[in-house]
């Protein structure tokens, strides 16, 4: 990728995050893309690679209200959304908001809890509001969920249904740090946890402005066509049972807009689309069982499609 000048605000946020996170710039970037595009992120990885640290750093950088929900099998929906409790002194029910009433929420190990509780969170993600005892509570804006899940093969998990997976703008993996990076992590761990010193770079109002600005990033018809082509190819691929939905195409476009903005452009390039497509589409594609047996992953399918869909290099003739 040609080194481009990043949007200065975003560069600052990223640098801020990097103060506590060693390496993993791409994860930070993608998280920021989801935040700016008003989407949510599903992080799939083993414990202890710094997921929480990432989200907390992000929340601190944008001065957001950070909440964390640790999902357990016995967690109830009301533990997520909040509950009305009778106050004998005031002789009335008082609403005590749950952890969902924050700006940036880390939903840890979301696949460890029952589907009922999962859906409470997912509803909030979709509707930006929760209904408790017949009262609808609007969620604060920005509202950003970063859910983590252990790889599905692990025991004692409730895999998220495909329809709900679709609600996440991006799905990504964190991965282990490089050797030098991990050594640096150890070095830092010897002194005070740096996360406490982190200061906000922007406030929520500025973040909302950024979110508006992203909507103005130009997506040319050629790019839209490219996105639709990719989605279409995933649908016709032989190893795919169910391809990317139109919602997936929308997600890809929004993510690409955010990504383009991040790199200081007010128009989307095919490169943006290409870069983001595996993260946007992979969790929306259901493979045929034959393909799974052959060891093909959804990422492979998307990458293969990207290798074949022609990039638009001329203006569309109408």
């Amino acid at each position: 990728m040609v080194q481009e000048k990043m949007n200065p605000t975003i560069e600052k946020i990223l640098q801020n995050i990097e103060r506590v996170m060693i390496g993993k710039r791409n994860v930070a970037e993608l998280s920021l893309v989801a935040l700016l595009a008003e989407g949510h992120v599903l992080l799939e990885d083993v414990p202890g690679v710094g997921k929480t640290m990432m989200v907390r750093a992000l929340a601190k950088s944008v001065n957001a209200n950070f909440r964390r929900i640790q999902f357990t099998p016995d967690l109830l929906p009301s533990d997520v959304t909040g509950v009305s409790i009778y106050n004998p002194r005031e002789m009335e029910f008082q609403f005590r908001p749950g952890p969902i009433m924050g700006n940036i929420i880390l939903a840890d190990e979301i696949n460890r809890t029952s589907p009922k509780t999962q859906s409470a969170l997912l509803e909030g993600m979709e509707e930006s509001s929760v209904t408790i005892d017949g009262v609808t509570h609007k969620l604060e804006k920005p509202f950003f969920v970063m859910a983590t899940q252990n790889p599905i093969e692990y025991e004692g998990t409730y895999p998220l249904p495909e329809a709900q997976l679709d609600r996440f703008l991006l799905k990504m993996k964190m991965g282990y740090p490089e050797i030098e990076e991990e050594m640096e992590v150890l070095n830092r761990a010897q002194v005070l946890a740096p996360i406490e010193e982190l200061e906000a770079v922007i406030d929520l109002a500025e973040l909302r402005e950024l979110q508006q600005a992203i909507k103005r990033v130009t997506v040319d018809d050629t790019i839209k066509r490219y996105i639709v082509d990719i989605a279409n190819w995933t649908r016709t691929s032989t190893s795919v049972y169910l391809g990317a939905s139109p919602r997936g195409s929308i997600a890809l476009m929004k993510a690409a807009q955010a990504y383009a903005y991040m790199y200081g452009r007010d128009y989307v390039l095919p490169d943006d689309v290409k870069y983001l497509a595996p993260n946007v589409f992979a969790h929306r594609i259901i493979l045929k069982s034959e393909a799974k047996f052959e060891g093909i992953t959804a990422e492979d399918v998307v990458l293969r499609v990207l290798d074949r869909v022609p990039v638009p290099v001329q203006r569309l003739v109408k």
Binding site: T218, Y267, L269, V309, V311
Partner: protein
Amino acid sequence: MTRKEKMKSDALTLWLYLCGFLLLWEWLRPLKQLTDTNNVGVFIGFLVLSLVLSYFQVHILARSGIRLLYVIYTINFLYYVGPFFQFKWMGILTSDLVENMKLVFGGEWTALSDSFRSLLFYLLLVLMTYLLRYWLVHRKQIFIFFFMTLVYITVLDTFTPYDATYAIVRIIILGFALMGILTFYRIMDREKWQRQPGFVRKWLTPLVVMVCASVLIGYAAPKASPIWPDPVPYITSYSEKVDNNGPGGRSTVGYGTDDTKLGGPFNPDDTVVYETEVDARQYWKVETKDEYTGKGWVASVENGLRTPFTQEDTYPFTNYLDPEMEVTKRTGIIKPQVDYPHLIYPLGLTSVKDNSASTFEIEENLEKIYLVDNAASGMGEYVVEYDTPKFSVQAMKNTVDTSNPVLTEEFLAQYTQLPESLPQRVKDLAVEITKDQTNWYDKAKAVENYFDRTDFQYDQKNVATPGRTEDYVDQFLFDTQRGYCDNFSTSMVVLMRSLGIPARWVKGYTEGAFRGLSENDQRTYVITNNNAHSWVEVFFPEVGWVPFEPTKGYSNNAQFTYDDVSTETDKKDELEAPVAPKPEKPEAKEATTQPKKSEFTWKKLWEGTKDFFNKHWGWILGAFLSLVAIAYLLYETRIKWLPHYLVFRFRWRKKDEDFPDAYFALLNQLNRYGLKRKEAQTLRDYSEYIDEYFSSKEMGALTANYERFLYKGKLEEGSWEQTRELWENLIKKTTS
């Protein structure tokens, strides 16, 4: 199976079937004319029915049933009286079939009944439709059938009266169309294309253009006349000779003295009249005639003066006027098989000898030699001595008019005689044929070659006799154009005479059929009545009488030398072998397009163009080929010169809107250079690759600019001006 289903329903396949049907129809068309097949329509109907059933893929049982019904019904309709539904006739049909089967196994083909033949023919058609379907739908190859059709039609055209002029054109169109469509199918199969609506149109448009263009060009282009003489007269005469031991024919062909009423058909007669031993093949003269009556030939002097002529005398009429004439002394032995009072003799006769010291008389006017005492047992074997001349073309070409003193008025009057009644259009035609020629020889050749036109056909059977008011020559030249030697030779003499060139009509025999070498290594020939022939002699003041052979399928035995020839036109003559028939000169063909010249300007334009092409085709072909070669070279080396051209071209295009074009030209050039961009590769990715390759930064900058244009829809002002230098640098790098 799915593919077959697909083939079934689309219109292109319908076209395939239609073309296939038309091609098959071409096989049936000549039947009516050439065989005694009637009701061809019934069979064509059957063909249509079979193909329609096949197209709609009617189930095999239903298909067979319907066709069987059709066959039975038509056979009933054609051969049996009585209503179809009275099944009495079925019994007759069955017994008929049984009878015929017996005949088939007995090998008595000719005894088969008509109804059975029709049945067999239906069977053949069923086979053909099956094959057609097999070729079209399964094999998707038709070339063999197409080629067979062509061969079939051309053979018919050559050897039968069937005129395939337009059939050939039709077959070519159909064949090309079929092969084009089938190639399309084959490619689709091979590449496993999904059928898309645009495909067919995209394929068919160039196909139609190609077929139309090739047919039009083929139709319009000048065609070389046959290199070989029309083989039909040869083959027929050959087969007649083979049939030698058959029952004797009626003597309607052969040598007769009465030529006053020419025309009409005649039957072949292979009675042997002479046997000869000579060392070269040549024609045998009997007599010449000089007066044309409009219906035939007579001698201008009846019972003319006879000069005695002994075995010691030199034959008085072989007086070559050219003293330097190259001659070959020859001797020939003639053994008459039939009692004729006259002798046959070769060109350039000097003396005649036989064992019995006979004497002869010559009738001067006819140049005919009689045996004086023909009351005796007839002429035995006799020996002729003769000088075979080599006529100098140059000497003949020297003659352009009648100014030579040798040509006395009397002589001219005798040998340019024509009847008053001769229609003017004959004279006009003569002028038309020879309008480009100046000397007598070229004129004679032009007239001689005129008869090589395909309009003229050699025929012994369908030959007309002129009516009371008609002229024999006029009828042949303008109406029938069909005839044998008398028609051709008389016509040539008349045409020559109407130009004022002395000419006469010669009768005699051709060399006959070669029968091998004799003991003393002489060539022996057998001359039958079928070899009776007539030809032409034209008089040239510096040379004498020179034979010409206008008859189609015959060749002149006289020899010509071209020694002194230096001009270009003569060389052209030289190219044409002195042995006629020669490929007709395009000019002659051109010049003789019907006397009634049309005023239609298109036609004139067409003629002019044709003429131009005829005259300059060598240049045109050369220019075309070199253009093609240059184009090919330019195309092959474009990677070298194209960048320079591009730089030059875009130097004058300064608007920002030109930038995308320039960028795209650069992409193409890089592609040709070998730095290919994969389809799924983004421009940015590609530009990095390019910049890495050339260790430059230009491509990145240009690409960023182009991206802005392409994905934002906006070009920054002055962007082309700023990046032009980068662009030029980069494009120049691809030339090194």
